[in-house]
Each structure stands twice: as C-alpha cells, then as structure tokens.
C-alpha cells in the first residue's frame, strides 16, 4: 500500500519516469559500449604481446601477401617461422587467430612461453580459422621466432612493433576514449540527479502527507532508496545490452582504426562479467549521488554562502596550473576534470549575474530576466550537463577538423607527385635513369629509401625509422616544417638531418641539436636542421639526403615518386611499360597517389568515428534531458506563466514571450559552452595529444560550428515553447496566487 502511494507520483508523471529510465539506460549504454571496446582492445593487445613476444613479423620484399607456400618454403630453409591467421568473425570486427601448435613447437624451444588455449578466445587451430576465412576477411602473417635466423633473398623483417612503443600509444588512445566515457558518466550523473531531484521536490507534499499519516521517515527513505535501486537496475540491464550492441556496431571501425594505427586488431576475447560489474558499479555510484539527499536528515544550508563559485574558481586555477605542468596523460586528465568541475560550479553563478535585468528595462524584460534567473537555479544541474556536453562536442569537433585539415595538408605534401613506384628487389634506380629523364614520360621524380638507423644515447641505442630522399626535389622541399633552422633543406644537402615530431619530443631535440646515429654500422654526429610533422607513425624517424647514405647501404624498401607531364595520365601506361622493360620485370607495383590519399582518409575517418559518435550521443542525451527537465520545470510554473494572459498577453504574444524565455535560456547555455569548448580544445590539441601520441596540432576554432550548435539549441527552445503553447491552459486559482507556490 505504502509502495503504491510512493510510486503514485510516477503514475501522475510518467514522462518523468521515462526520462529517468531513458537517461540511465543511455548513459549505461554509452559507458558500457566504450568500456567493452577499450577492454577488448586492451585484452587483444595483451594476448598479441604475450604470444608474439620476441617474434618478428616477416614481409616479402616484393610487397605481395604471404601465403602458405611461403611458410613452407621458409620452414624448409630452416627458419622457425610460425603462421598467424587473423579472421574477422563478428559483425563488430572481432577476430579470431588461427595458430599452428605443431609449427609453434620450434618457437617454444626458442623462447619460454605457454601455448595458447585453442578455445576461440581468440585462438583456434589454423585449419578452423582457414575454414572461417573462406567467407570472411582474413590476413595471414608469418612471424620469425628466432632473431638470429638469417633471412633468405626476397624477405625482410618488418619493424618490430614492440620496439616502437605502439603498446603505450595504443594504451593512450584507449585512455582517451575511457576519459570520454567518464565524461559521459559525469554528464549523465548531472542529468539524472537533476531529474530525480526535481521529482523529489514535486513529491514533497505527498511524502509529508504520508509522514503525517504515521509512516516513519526512515521507512519512507528506505522505500525511496529501494525505488532508486530498482530504477538503476532497470536502466543498467538494458543499458548494458545496448552498450554491447553499440560496441558491436562500432567495433568494425574501431578495430580497423586500432589495426591501422597500432597494428593491433580487435580480437575475439572472452567477455567477462567484470565489464558488467564495473558498469553496474558506476551506475550505482551515479544513483547513490541522487540518493544522498534522501539520507540527509534535513536539507541544510551551506555553511559558507557562495562556496560554489569560490570552489569553482579554486578548481579552475588548480586545473590550469596542473594542465600546464602535467607530464603524464593521467595527470592531464585529472587536470581536465578539475577544469570541467570548476567550470560547472562557477557557471550558474556567473550566468545569474549575466542575466540580471537593467534597472530601466521594460516590465516584460524585467519579468523575463527574473524568470530566467529562477529557471537557471532550478535547472542548474542539467544546464551544467548541457554546457559540458556541448563544450565537449565543440572541442572534439575542433580537434577532428583541425586534424583533418592538418592531416590533409600533410598528406598532400607527402603524397606529392602522381605515381608511387616500388623499386623491385635487387634492381637499381640507375638502371631506369634514362626512362626517368624522358620529359614526355616524367615531369619530375625523386627516390625514397626506407630502412632503419640507431640513435646512440650513451651506451644505449634506439632503433629509428630512416627515410632517405633526394632533398633537391621540389616535391620534397614543399614540405612545411614545424620548426627549422635557417635554410634547412640546404643544411640537409650538406649532411644535416630532419627528425619527426615524435622523435623531437621524446629526445627533446630542437633545430641545431646534435645527435649521434648509427647507419649501417657507421657512427655519425649529425645536426638536426628541422622538425617535421609525421602523423600516425608511432616511431621516431630521421630524414637524410640519399647522397649521405653509406655506400653498400641496403634499404629495406625503395620507391620512386613521379610527377607525370601535364597530359600525363595517358602516358602512365607507357611509363610503367618502359620501367618494366628497363628493369626486366613484370607486374611492377605502381600506385597512384590519389588512391593512397583516399585510403589514408578512410583510415582517418575510422580513427575518429568512435570519438565523434560518443560526443554527439552525449550531446543528444543532454539536449533530450534538458528538454524533458525544462518541460517539467516550465510545467510546474505554468500557472505563473498563465498570469501573463491576465496581463493582456494572449495567443501569439504569449508564445513569443515564452519563446524568448526558452531561447534566452538556451543562449546562456551556449554562451557557457563555447568558452568551455575552446578551453577543452586547447587542452586536447596542445596538452593531451602530445602526451598521448607524441605530436601536437595547431589550435584552431570553428565559429561556424558554434553557430550550428546555437541553431540546435534554438530549435530545442522552439520545441519547448511550441509544446508549451499547445498545452491546454491551466486554471489559475486564488489559493495558488495566494501561496505563490508552484506545482
């Protein structure tokens, strides 16, 4: 009976119950989806690391895919090579790995380690994987278990991913996503608390009545906590399911991004209950925060009036200091959390002052501003939630767009020229010199040789990628450098080197720095002439002129970048044929740079799909929650607004007042969100990105997007005002007017 009485509130306000449930469910889904993906990615990396510890990836020098015949050939030459067949099995891009335990026995004797269980999580026997691969995307890799084995002609070792700290980088990538998920939870917590607190205020009379009928306050609280718990569970269960679905939907793109960025695919790993328990735990915390009010004996006024703006200001200052000095990603995220919390505390106080009416304003303006002040107090929590969500969207949008622009420009420089031709193994570029000098076939060209060098640091050496090219080429000289000494290209022609941003940050290098490198066993002291952007590459890279490669240097990979003459497309076939004839090869590997550009852009989009999806879903959640809360709050003051009709504002005039009221409310939220977004953008591109990935981005803002966001908020205001206008007018009674209480 008591329970029915308590729950009768939701019979009268089903939308409120629906709102609470929907926010809880969506918040759980977002959290659970991100957690599932990042957890799966971490598991995948660990599984891969464990099994491939000390093993080297092999690649054919002709760039062709490896086959089972290659495996057999290498084994018959005495190399302890093991196959690794990855097959995409889930619609979410999860993979299983086919391994051959029989072939692995030589690897087991070469290293200590345990054989994997072939239970599909993620390992299966390679025959089973090959069966699956008949109808699914798959990739065969060959790993060399013993470093000492000499490779036969036509084979090379791929750079060892473990030596490139990709694990750490991938971890940073995942930490970024987890941080975003935490932000989602925070925003959701604010929303849930606001909706629940609102409901609690509406139930005050009813609960007091029950107390008067003799129901003990403690018992009432117990029931309310129980209601909250059930509600949390009802939201968390389907939310977790939705989250798994979300992970499945986004998994393919996310897995591809992980693969492209860090060479770590998303594997089919066992789904533990830990994920669900963590989700449940987080949601319980969120709900418990709502329940805190119930446990308080009575509402107490804050012991220091105005503590919130003071605390907010302190947090802001602490956050700014911390974000400037942060040396690790975790500290940077903590600082960001402080900044956001500070902004959240200080914003309502600031906005209250912003909307103070002018003394000489018209009565209607005065009324609207005062009402806006009331609404901002009532809606403080969802308002802050929307501010944070909108700020995050602004920051993520700026980050993605800045990166897109920078990446495109960088890609344009790197992919200058029309064609990319792989030099066949064992062939010399000098052989095709006469072809390349034919003006009707080739406008300009430059060679690129890739290999490895070692950076000597005391008695330690660090393996780096090496890029050697003809730096006289105008295609290379078009590169814009992040930092450079005077006439950097001329310096490189004289023996200096350029280094990528990752290496410069890791080693604290600047133009003019001297470094010691080992090229083909030859030790050299070289000057750093400049630093170039090198997005997506985890490893450090050194660029030098080909003229300074030691004689007899064997690059791992050589290519030509060729610009065709103006009417060159029709001559491409002739050029390829002439090159094949000169080298006496068939099937020359030629790629047009436009295609490479497209592929790179696709990888880029995959990388940010999840980030964008989370931020937009959060914004959607916050907008919907604000709409619902706004609807309830405005509804509770409906009688008061009806008074405007008694003042002579009926029909459209009344609607306009309401529209201005809701629009101004949205506008102040937008005003609060924009600086939050700008600050967050700066933190992301200048602080978190360098810490996470080793490279920074230029700071850029996109006012066009702010206007789009404002339009979205204005639309929300229009919807609320419109819905309000269509609502049947309530009766205004004398007692209401007398008490001045809202319902």
């Amino acid at each position: 009976m008591l329970l029915r009485a308590i729950l009768s509130h939701y019979r009268r306000h089903p939308m409120q119950l629906l709102a609470l449930w929907a926010i809880l469910t969506l918040a759980t889904a977002l959290w659970s989806g991100v957690w599932t993906l990042t957890d799966q990615a971490r598991d995948s990396m660990q599984v891969g690391d464990r099994q491939l510890a000390g093993q080297q990836l092999l690649a054919r020098q002709d760039g062709a895919e490896v086959t089972v015949e290659d495996f057999a050939t290498l084994r018959r030459q005495g190399l302890c090579v093991v196959p690794w067949l990855e097959v995409v099995v889930g619609s979410g891009g999860a993979r299983v790995i086919g391994v051959d335990p029989l072939a692995m026995s030589c690897a087991d004797s070469a290293r200590s380690g345990t054989a994997p269980a072939l239970d599909g999580e993620p390992f299966v026997d390679i025959a089973e994987a090959a069966g699956l691969a008949l109808k699914r995307p798959s990739r065969l890799r060959l790993y060399l278990a013993r470093e000492t084995d000499r490779l036969p002609e036509g084979w090379r070792r791929q750079p060892d991913p473990s030596a490139l700290d990709t694990g750490e980088l991938a971890d940073s990538f995942l930490l970024n996503l987890n941080a975003l998920a935490v932000l989602v939870v925070l925003v959701s917590a604010l929303l849930i608390r606001s909706v629940y607190t609102l409901g609690l205020a509406q139930r005050r009379h009813g609960l007091q009545l029950l107390e008067r009928y003799g129901v003990q306050r403690r018992r009432l609280r117990r029931y309310l906590l129980l209601e909250l718990g059930v509600l949390a569970l009802l939201g968390a269960l389907p939310g977790h399911g939705l989250g798994l679905l979300l992970a499945e939907m986004l998994g393919a793109g996310f897995g591809a991004a992980m693969d492209n960025l860090f060479d770590t695919g998303l594997l089919q790993t066992s789904r533990s209950v830990t994920g669900f328990l963590v989700t449940l735990g987080v949601m319980t915390l969120v709900v418990a925060w709502c329940g805190l009010d119930l446990l308080k004996v009575r509402r107490e006024q804050s012991f220091i009036p105005g503590w919130k703006p003071m605390a907010g200001f302190t947090m802001l200052v602490a956050g700014v200091v911390l974000v400037l000095v942060a040396g690790s990603l975790v500290v940077a995220f903590l600082a960001t959390a402080l900044l956001l919390a500070g902004a959240g505390l200080i914003t309502p106080w600031l906005l209250q002052r912003l909307v103070l009416p002018h003394r000489d304003a018209s009565p209607l303006h005065l009324w609207r501003r005062r009402e806006l002040g009331v609404l901002m107090r009532r809606l403080a929590l969802p308002l802050v939630a929307l501010q944070l969500a909108a700020g995050t969207v602004i920051a993520v949008h700026a980050l993605v767009h800045t990166f897109e622009g920078t990446f495109n420009q960088w890609l344009g420089q790197r992919l200058a020229g029309d064609l990319f031709v792989e030099v066949p193994d064992g062939k010399n570029i000098s052989t095709v010199a006469s072809v390349l000098s034919q003006g009707h076939l080739v406008d300009s060209w430059h060679p690129v040789e890739r290999g490895q060098v070692a950076l000597v640091d005391g008695d330690q050496t660090h393996i780096l990628d090496l890029m050697a090219t003809d730096t006289r080429s105008p295609l290379v000289r078009e590169w814009s450098l992040l930092h450079a000494s005077e006439a950097p290209w001329r310096a490189v022609r004289k023996g200096a080197v350029l280094v990528n941003e990752q290496l410069a940050r890791r080693r604290g290098l600047a133009p003019g720095s001297r470094v010691s490198i080992l090229v083909e066993g030859e030790r050299r002291q070289v000057t750093v002439a400049g630093i170039y952007a090198d997005y997506g590459r985890p490893s450090g890279e050194v660029l030098m002129d080909v003229a300074f490669l030691p004689s007899g240097y064997e690059p791992g990979f050589r290519s030509l970048t060729i610009t065709l003459p103006a009417s060159g497309n029709s001559r491409q076939a002739s050029l390829v044929s002439a090159l094949e004839q000169a080298w006496q090869v068939n099937g020359l590997q030629v790629r047009d740079n436009a295609t490479v550009h497209r592929i790179a852009n696709r990888i880029f989009r995959q990388t940010f799909t999840l980030t964008r999806a989370i931020s937009y879903l959060t914004l959607g959640l916050a907008v919907v929650a604000l709409l619902l809360t706004g609807w309830v709050v405005l509804g509770s003051r409906h009688w008061y607004y009806q008074l405007l009709t008694t003042w002579g504002l009926a029909g459209k005039a009344w609607f306009h007042v309401m529209l201005r009221l809701t629009t101004e409310l949205m506008l102040v939220i937008w005003l609060a969100a924009v600086p939050t977004g700008i600050a967050l953008t700066w933190v992301l591109v200048q602080r978190i990105n360098p810490l996470a990935f080793g490279w920074s981005l230029p700071m850029a803002v996109y006012p066009g997007f702010w206007l789009e966001l404002m339009a979205l908020l204005a639309l929300s205001a229009l919807i609320v005002a419109g819905a309000f206008y269509l609502r049947a007018p309530s009766q205004v009674s004398a007692p209401d007017l007398a008490t001045g209480e809202e319902r």
Binding site: A72, R75, A103, M104, A117, A127
Partner: protein, 366 residues
Amino acid sequence: MKMNLLFALLAVIPVATLVGCSGEPSDTGFAGLAAQGQQEGFRQPAPGDLVRLPADWGAHPEYRIEWWYLTANLETAAGQPLGLQWTQFRQGLEPRSTDDPAPKASLWPLHSAWMAHGAVSFGGQHWFDERFARGDTGQAGATAAPLQVWLDHWQLMEVADGQWQLSASGDGWSYELALVPEGQVVRHGEQGFSAKTPDGQGSMYFSLTDIAIEGEVVLDGQSHSVSGLGWLDREWSSRFLRSDQRGWDWFALRLDDGSRLMVFRVGDGDNAYRSGTWVDPQGQVHSLASDEIDLAALDYREINQGRVPVAWQLDIPDRGLSLEIRAPLGTYWNEGLYPYWESPVSVSGSVDGSGYMELTGYGGGP
C-alpha cells in the same frame, strides 16, 4: 620394432596439437594410446598384403601411421664410433585414398600430423631434437620417386639414382650425409606383413640393412668426417598394439659374418610377443617366430629418468646365435614429447657385430 614407439608417438600428436605441444604424456602410455587411436576409415594391413616398390617409399594416407627410420653406426676419421638417428613419422587423422587429391594447402588442413626425431651419440654424449608439422601444407611430406622425405629443413632426398642425401640439425648438432643404399630390400614377416600380436595385428615392414654413409657431423661446433653403415626401416599400419602392451625392446644388428638380425619384443614376461628376421650371410631372409627367440636383460643402468636395461642376452638356438648386446657408457635418452632410449650397441658372443637398440617403457617415461 620401432613401430611400437612410433605408433605411440604418432598417436599422441593430436593430443599434443590440442594442448599446443605442451601436454604431458598420458598415463596409459605409448601402447595404450596407439591402441586407442581412431581407426575408422583407415585401411589395416593383413597377411597377403605385399610391399610394392618404389611406391611404398612414399606416404600412405589410407593408413593411420607410418615412418621412415634410419639408424647408423659410423666412425670418425680418428676411428671413434658415432651413432646417429633420423626418423620421420606421419599420423593420419583423416583417411584418404592414395588416388584422391590432397586437401588444399591454403586451408591448413589437419588431415595428418608429422613428427621428426634426430639424434647423435658420440663419446658417451647424446644430442636429440624433435620437430612437428601438419601435413599437406608443404612443411612436411614424403614422395616415392624421387624419394623425398622432409619436415622443415630436415630431409632425406634422392639426389641421383641410388644416391641419397640426409641433413638435419638441432641444438648443438647437425649432420650432412651422403647415403648409398646397398644390398637387398628385406621384407619382414610374411612378404612384408609383420605380425605384432599373437592374434595377427601387424604392419607392413621392410628394411634396407646396409646403407653406405659418408659425410660431416658437427657437434658443439666441432666438425667430424664420418663414414659407416646405416639401417633404414620403412613401416606403416593403422593398428597393431593391444592396450595392455606397455613397452618394447627392438634390436637391429649387423653381424661380422655378414648376417643381419632384427629382433623385437613387445610387452614383458609370459605375455611378451617376440618376432624377428635373420638374413643369413648368403642373403637368405628367414622369419623368426616368437618361440625361436630368447631375450633377457643382463645388466641395468640407473639414469636420471630411471632404470634401463643396457645389456642383453639374445639367443636364437636354431640359428646357432648366442649374442651379448651392450650399450656404450652414457645416457642415450631421447627427451622428447615421449621419451625413450635409442643407442648404438656392440655385439659379442657367437659372432661380433654392432647395431642399434631402442627401449621404451623404461625409466619414468611411459
């Protein structure tokens, strides 16, 4: 009688596959595993079956188990004895007729599993390694003409008519040998059908008892020129052990009077099943029945793995043979997935000689 060991070893390969080659041997031992193997669909050799050469040098996918087993008693240039073993096993997991095409390599089929053992015994020391592969991928296989048997880079290849090359290497050892098969092919049992139990289970089994060998053996970085004679067994079946047959003793002896003797014993005590083949000095082949052979251990050696009989008395009264067989000092224990003893032996008594001895079911092993 290497078959017993081989049957057992091959039978465990699927088990090893499931546990990633890290599994412990089953308590039931070699014989039990061999006897319990999946035989459905595989052909079973029977009396009357014949050895057909050269086809039978190649693989028999319609049978479950087979091997190519070479042991050699060699000497270094300094006259020091050196024993050597190379063995390759195949275990069929799915039967296939010889006429049917092999499954596609790109499917990494697990229709058969292969295993190879290589060992060298010299100066009281013993080196051993083993390798594994799945069949039909090209990593391991066997063809009859030309003769090619390989697993990884361990391979026996016919390089010219009547000339073979054998190479293998492991941790601290390697050999590159030129082999010239001499003498006749000895078909054991009844025209090559060799019974292994009193109730007639058996295998197809033939041998080359005299293979001239020359080449290089490298041990711990030191190269030795070697020469001598080898003995190659070729055997295939699908089932011939009873589950109660635990352990076996096998001897392949080259006697100084020009005769050759192969004797094996399965099991122990009264239930032991003995069989053999005697090739007399004139080259006549005689099958030896169980009751013609007396075999008893004379002396044991305590090694880390347990107690192993290293000296034997072998009597075949009807042929006037009374032989004492003795392993040299040392521990010749093949510490593989399934460990066993494989050593060169010297022979004295009614006639002197040398050869090889294989013992399973001793020590802590199965």
